[in-house]
Structure formats: C-alpha cells, structure tokens
C-alpha cells in the first residue's frame, strides 16, 4: 500500500475534496498459516515491537495478534504520564532511552502522537519525602537525566492551582520537576505504530486470542493456537501486560508477576487550567489535563489480584481526597467516568524484557503501573532482543534470572509506592 502522508498541506488538500480521499490506515488481514515472528498483544508495546522488527531488523513477515481491538487494553486505559526520573542506573538508562524516542516519535511515525513535554512535578509532603526526592534528583543528574528541586513557592509558580498552604493535612514542602517529562495521546501511539507497521507489511490481526503455544521436539516454540486457527512461527514475543502470566502458562513458564486492577478517572472537561503533570506518591495522586479539557486522574491499585478490569470505589475516593486538598479549585468538578486496567506487577516494580527458558519465546512484561511512558523504548529493545536472540545492553539487567541471582532493580523500595 502506498504511503498516504500526513501534513498541513495534505490536510488542506483533502479538505478541498471534503476529506473523502482518506484511506483506512491499516489493513484488516486474515491470519496466514506461517510468520517469521508473532507478537502476542496489540497495545503500544506490541505494535511498536512489530514496527521495529520490520524497520530496524528487516524481518519481512510479522503478525501482531490481539485478543480484542488494538490499543483497547492498558494503552487505552492509562493516564499517559511520561517521565524518566527513576533512581537506579539501570532504570534511568531504560526510561531515558524511551523518553528520547518520545521526543522524535511523531516525526518517525509521521503520526502526531501529541507528545507534550509540559513537565512532571513530584511533590514532597514530609521530611522523609524531601530526602528521598532530593536523592532522586541527585541520582538522576549523575545519570544525565534532568530533574530539579523546587521550593514550594517555585512549585506554585510552575503549577498555579497548587495549594501550598502550610495548614493542610499534607502540606507541600517542595517538589522535584522533570521538565522533559509530560504526556502524549495514548490512542495515537497505538494507531501511529499500527499504521507505520502495516506500511512495512506487518499483519495486525484483531479478535484473535492465543489459546495455546505449541513446541517442537527440541522444546523450542513452533507456533500458537488461536481462536482464528493455528499459526506457525519460530519466534514468539509476548507483550500482553496483565495477561502475560496467562499466556506464558501455556508454555509452562512461571513468572514473578501478579496482576492487579489499577484505576483511573476523568473529570468533566473544562478550559485549560492545569499546565503540567503533578504526582504525589505519599498521598497517592496523579493528575494532568488532557487536550480535550478533562482532568485525568490516576488512582491506585486494588489490594487483591484480579483480571476484572474494574475495582472498588474507595480506591478512587482516596485519590480524590488528595486531589481536592492539593487543588481546592477542583472540588466542584464532577467525575465523568472511571475505569480499571489490569497491570502485571513484579516484586521489584521493574519490568522484564527478556528471553524465557523456552527457546524462541520472548517476553516484555512487568511494567506494572507505569508502562505507557516506556512504550517506544520497550518496543525498540524488545524487537532487538527478539531479532538477535540476545538482549540489548540497556535491557540486559531486566531479565527473569535477576530474581534467581538476587540482582533486583528495586524501584519498589526506591519509591515506596506503586508507580
């Protein structure tokens, strides 16, 4: 299919013919019996991995299998926060690799993913928070990741709706600001990767659930059973977020994952009032404003493992208590809708991008509550790992074996919160 590029000029030109010349942006092919590589999971990570496999590693014949519709899982359910201010060297390298790719993603895909580096501010409410956050600031700067400490007045200057009154229950004692952080349009990320991958010949197959993984006599993968028939492939990459354990069980692989519901909600849309992203780990609130005008608010995970894509109201109420105290202006806004997604959480809250004990089977999982920010980087590194059958130096520490060998990348302890 020839490329139908997007630009102001093409928009104007199509406008002259009442926008009737636009084609469907990706095909809806039926699965073929055999592929060079199969990606299980059609979210941003999976579609991106297929794109980089085709673009950078020259694999010709690739399929992405998606149980529902593309971008309908956690890609369409997250709060779109992008940042790279993680404590440990391994994490900083991984997330900053991704952040650098975000900066050029719209140009690379010829698709406006609306990356908006509006700044991510993390609040400190206690002396302990100040110490932890300043440690993060210094560690980030040693790793070449931008991050700076703001006193309360400077935090308010950066985010005017913020309440810095010293008489609130959790007063703002300061904040760390990563100016390169921000948000992007989540659906556009899935659609942009889908369009770009399709152009390179990748088959994106929706409504196709994987129900089995077949292995040959040597134990290596031979193909996948799906609801749309058997598909042969010697390389299978699983990028299925909360359902990764379910898929890997089909090949007899146990992972250090537990799946929890994570909830989010949006307010009714209002005029631009909120210029950045604000996070508070201590009182658990994440908030930004979408371009539609809705305040996008991230709540916490429920206490129990579940695959239901919904959770309890008290989790949202806890976050709204915090948001309303920090931003009293928002008390009168109505909540428009809330939802849940299933996140796969590792014991150290760091992801896994690695080979599995089964030859030909690869996994990109364990992103927990923070996988969206890593979409381009994780997809890029996962494609590398699948194509070369060995990890890229950046994702080499993010193996499954780190749990056996005791080399955890313990961002859980570093942040003392799901993130």
């Amino acid at each position: 299919m020839s490329k139908q590029s997007f630009s102001a000029l093409s928009l104007f030109w199509r406008g002259l013919s009442r926008h009737r010349g636009w084609r469907q942006q990706w095909r809806k092919p039926d699965p073929e019996p055999q592929y060079d590589a199969v990606i299980v999971g059609g979210g941003g990570h999976g579609l991106g991995a297929a794109y980089y496999l085709a673009k950078e590693h020259g694999l010709g014949h690739i399929a992405v299998l998606e149980k529902g519709w593309i971008g309908g899982g956690n890609t369409g359910r997250n709060t779109t926060i992008i940042r790279s201010n993680y404590l440990f060297n391994e994490s900083a390298a991984l997330y900053d690799h991704s952040l650098k790719m975000w900066e050029n993603l719209s140009q690379a895909l010829d698709y406006n993913v609306m990356f908006s580096p509006r700044g991510v501010m993390m609040l400190a409410h206690t002396i302990h928070d100040i110490q932890v956050i300043k440690r993060h600031v210094h560690a980030n700067r040693c790793n070449g990741v931008d991050n700076e400490w703001l006193e309360p007045a400077a935090a308010k200057a950066f985010c005017p709706p913020l309440n810095i009154d010293s008489n609130i229950r959790y007063p703002v004692l300061g904040a760390a600001l990563q100016r390169r952080g921000g948000t992007a349009r989540h659906d556009a990320v899935a659609w942009g990767y889908a369009r770009a991958a399709d152009e390179l010949g990748v088959d994106i197959i929706e409504n196709c659930e994987v129900t089995g993984i077949r292995r040959d006599a040597s134990g290596a993968v031979a193909g996948v059973e799906t609801t749309r028939g058997y598909i042969q492939s010697k390389k299978i990459g699983v990028s299925a977020a909360g359902h990764t354990s379910v898929i890997l069980q089909l090949a007899g692989v146990r992972l250090p994952l537990e799946s929890f519901p994570l909830q989010a909600l949006v307010s009714e849309p209002v005029k631009p009032i909120f210029p950045c992203v604000v996070m508070s780990n201590t009182i658990h609130a994440y908030i930004s404003q979408s371009d539609k005008g809705e305040l996008v608010i991230g709540a916490g995970t429920d206490a129990y493992t579940s695959y239901t894509q919904r959770g309890a109201l008290h989790i949202n109420m806890h976050t709204l208590d915090a948001v309303c105290e920090l931003f009293p202006t928002f008390r009168r806004l109505a909540v428009l809708r809330n939802w849940g997604g299933i996140v796969d959480v590792t014991p150290d809250r760091s992801p896994i991008i690695a080979k599995t004990p089964v030859p030909g089977l690869y996994v990109n999982c364990g992103w927990g509550t923070g996988g969206f920010k890593a979409t381009p980087g994780a997809a890029h590194l996962f494609a590398w790992t699948m194509a070369r059958d060995e990890p890229h130096p950046i994702n080499a520490p993010f193996s499954i074996e780190r749990f056996r060998d005791g080399v955890l990348i313990d961002e859980a302890a570093a942040a003392a919160v799901a993130h």
Binding site: E258, Y304, T305, T308, A312, G406
Partner: protein, 90 residues
C-alpha cells in the same frame, strides 16, 4: 467493594481485610540445603491464575485471623472460604 465472607465473622466489607497473596506456598527447608532456583520459585514466582485462585486473606480490622479463600479472579466471585491449614476445596 467486595463483600468478603470471613469464616469466623461472616460477610464483611473489603476495607476490613488485607490481602495475603497466593495460598499454599510451602517454604522450602532446610534453608542451607535449598538451591537458588527453588528459593526464587518460593519467593518470587507466582501462578497468577485467571480463574479459581486460592489466596490468603487476613481480617485485619476485624477478628485479626488469617484464612484462605477460593476466588474466581475473572469475576471476583468468592467460591469458598476455609480456615488456614485446611485443604483447598475441590
């Protein structure tokens, strides 16, 4: 919010409970003789089942007792609750 049937107190709201993760994990012994693969299986690897999942709960803000439950993780429906030490219901 879930209504959780504590086997000692009856149905109570979820906020009275803490979740204790997968049930029936047996600590390998003796510690010095256990290899690292077995330790990592015990400490980190989880079944993370979609379906009837045996898990531990503690009625922390109630009777304080631990108990086990069989819950369908695809619907959150409690299939059975049973006391710690009892075998998993079929």
């Amino acid at each position: 919010m879930l209504l959780i049937p504590c086997p000692y107190c009856g149905p109570r709201p979820e906020i009275e409970f803490t979740h204790g993760g997968e049930a029936h994990l047996i600590r390998p012994a003796p510690p010095a003789a256990v290899d690292e693969d077995t330790w990592s299986q015990f400490l980190y690897m989880r079944t993370n089942l979609k379906g009837a999942h045996a898990e531990r709960w503690r009625h922390a803000r109630g009777c304080g007792k631990f108990f086990n439950a069989l819950r369908d993780t695809s619907t959150d429906h409690f299939i059975a609750v049973y006391k710690t030490g009892e075998p998993r219901p079929a």
